[in-house]
């Protein structure tokens, strides 16, 4: 199996995205006349890979840097440092972290984003046709008539049928679920290699949530699209993603196969996160993992484990040493903890 399945070209061995040492430091309290020495370490030395057609869940609490990471991958935010090697097998592998100008515009055909808020992610003054056709329009793909056909196709694909009736409506005439389907259509119309989905279902009614998730999963497998699925909901991550990465204060603390992590979480933060998920059975009692305190500041954090102030199992070693590196702990599981 191993030999037969191996692709011949070494080029195709590479994952779609290889993120190395990605950092984003936002200046805190900058002033035009004073050199800034305080930085918010929103994303700090993040490493992971995303395979072709794979969906990776990025899980963590508010403010841990999930969205910043996602936005850096589609270059809505410029990374402070680090590399993102992008290779979709059609061209040379490129480091998208430093792209500018024409190559960046070209890269934007391969990476799209779906936003959290379906009410704010569409210009209220543009019709659904304009919204969905926008990537084609700015990339100058096809004529107006071609775009119309493509938009109709996409509308049918995301389940907004009959497509004609939606073309020239305005966003405010659509429900939240329908808008999120339009957002998906807009993201997929350029046939990207990967899509960053920033909590696309968190603002939807529970009743339409699974429909949208199912649609995204179907389209991903049908079109071979890789997802970086940002969420704070472990159940959603489990439904959507084959692998998950748990973030805490700008660091990935645990990454690996979804089922493996959910079955045996190694990092104390992941354990606490899992124990906070409610179980829909009142007779089951679980051991609650207690963590103390609140989220500590991200401004110039000290050189110690980020989770140290809240960790139930930390000792002096964790306090005096820098944040632990990711280490393989299970089959497909990497954990960044000295004690786990």
């Amino acid at each position: 199996m191993a030999a037969a399945a191996q692709p011949t070209s070494s080029n195709e061995d590479r994952p779609l995205l290889q993120v190395e040492g990605l950092r984003k430091h936002f200046p805190a309290g900058a002033s035009r006349f004073r050199r800034n020495e305080r930085f918010i370490h929103a994303v700090d030395d993040v490493n992971f890979t995303l395979g072709r057609g794979e969906s990776l869940g990025l899980v963590g609490e508010s403010g841990c840097g999930k969205t910043t990471t996602g936005k850096m991958l589609v270059r809505l935010i410029d990374p402070t440092d680090g590399h993102v090697i992008f290779d979709d097998g059609t061209g040379e592998p490129t480091d998208i972290a430093t792209l500018r100008g024409k190559p960046l515009k070209e890269f934007r055909k391969h990476a799209q984003m779906i936003f959290q808020d379906p009410y704010e992610s569409m210009n209220p003054r543009r019709t659904i046709f304009d919204t969905i056709a926008e990537p084609l329009q700015v990339q100058d793909i096809g004529t107006l008539v071609d775009r119309l056909d493509r938009v109709m196709e996409m509308l049918a694909l995301v389940g907004l049928t009959p497509p004609r009736t939606f073309l020239f409506r305005y966003p405010h005439e659509l429900s939240g679920g329908q808008r999120q389907r339009v957002a998906i259509a807009r993201a997929l119309i350029v046939e990207p290699s990967f899509v960053v989905a920033d909590e696309p279902t968190s603002m939807l009614d529970v009743s339409v949530r699974t429909g949208v998730m199912q649609l995204m999963a179907d389209l991903a497998s049908g079109l071979g699209i890789g997802y970086l699925y940002i969420t704070h909901d472990l159940a959603v991550a489990r439904y959507m993603c084959s692998r998950i990465a748990v973030m805490y204060l700008g660091k990935i603390v645990e990454i690996g196969d979804t089922e493996e992590i959910l079955r045996s979480p190694q990092h104390p933060y992941t354990q606490a996160l899992l124990s906070a998920v409610p179980v829909p059975d009142p007779t089951v009692s679980r051991e609650a993992v207690k963590i103390k305190g609140g989220v500590t500041t991200l401004i110039n954090p000290p050189a110690q484990c980020r989770f140290y102030p809240r960790c139930p199992i930390a000792d002096d070693y964790c306090e005096t040493n820098d944040h632990p590196p990711l280490e393989r702990k299970g089959q497909e599981q990497e954990v960044s903890c000295y004690k786990a």
């Binding site: 055909k109 003054r125 926008e134 957002a183």
Partner: protein, 316 residues
Amino acid sequence: MAVDVAPQSAAPSIRKVRLTLFMRSLRENWSLFLGTRIGVIGLVIIIFYLVLALAHPILMNTVWEERVYDPVVGYAFDETRQPAPPSRNHLLGTDPLGRDVLSQLMHSARTEFLLGLLAAVVTVTIGTTVGAVAAYYGGIIDTILMRFADLMVMMPGISILIVLSALIGVEHFELALIIGILSGFGGASILLKSQALSVVVKPYIDAARAAGGGPLHIIFIHIVPNLLPLSFLYMMFTVTGAIFSEAILSFLGLLDVRMSWGLMIHTTEAAGYLLQVGAYWWLIFPASLSITLLCTSFYLVGRAMDEIVNPRLRRL
């Protein structure tokens, strides 16, 4: 059902649908506008003065003899004393120089409209662009544009116009441009930038960037259309400001214009009739009332549009 638009006819049909959508929103806004009483009052006054302005050239070519009724060089030979009170030939009397007041009033209405609208269009074009650019780019570009705007706001407009008209001679057209540029780079750009700031943080701007849209695309396709309601509103207020400044300047005799409402009052004042309002009311009331009414009407229309574009003010 899926595609019943033939590919050839698709492009024109898109335009047709766009037109239909445009007409639909126009109709909706029109019915909202009719619902606001002040807007209707303002519009009636504006239409009244529009009719006056348009009727003047027609009257001059048909009933009115140019020798007598020309607003600048005419002379009422049929009157023995100037200024003459209203009569059948001269419905609003004549001014101290023997010119027909009604003709002057109607002639001026046209220039007031042109002046006000040109000033407003210049203001809003500059203000919208500057505001959108400052909000989109931020940083040093924003700082430069906004400090420049502060400078413009601090400039005493009337005094500058006095100096300029003394130096280069200012006519209606130049006046409109100067007012337009002063308020366009000043107040309008500050106001519209603050509105644009609330637009640039919307996720759809990020979505447009992720799609590959450049600064021009984002500024003119996404930001500016969302500023337009406020721009139109500001336009209305600029018309008022322009007409008012013109009146002040020509009353002071500082504008190089042939005829305007302000100049009519100036003539009255120069001939010494200004303080005898009771006896010579037709010299003062028509012009001053026109200035007041037209300024008010544009302000009222602006307020009504404010209610339409700003749903929080809408009475439901």
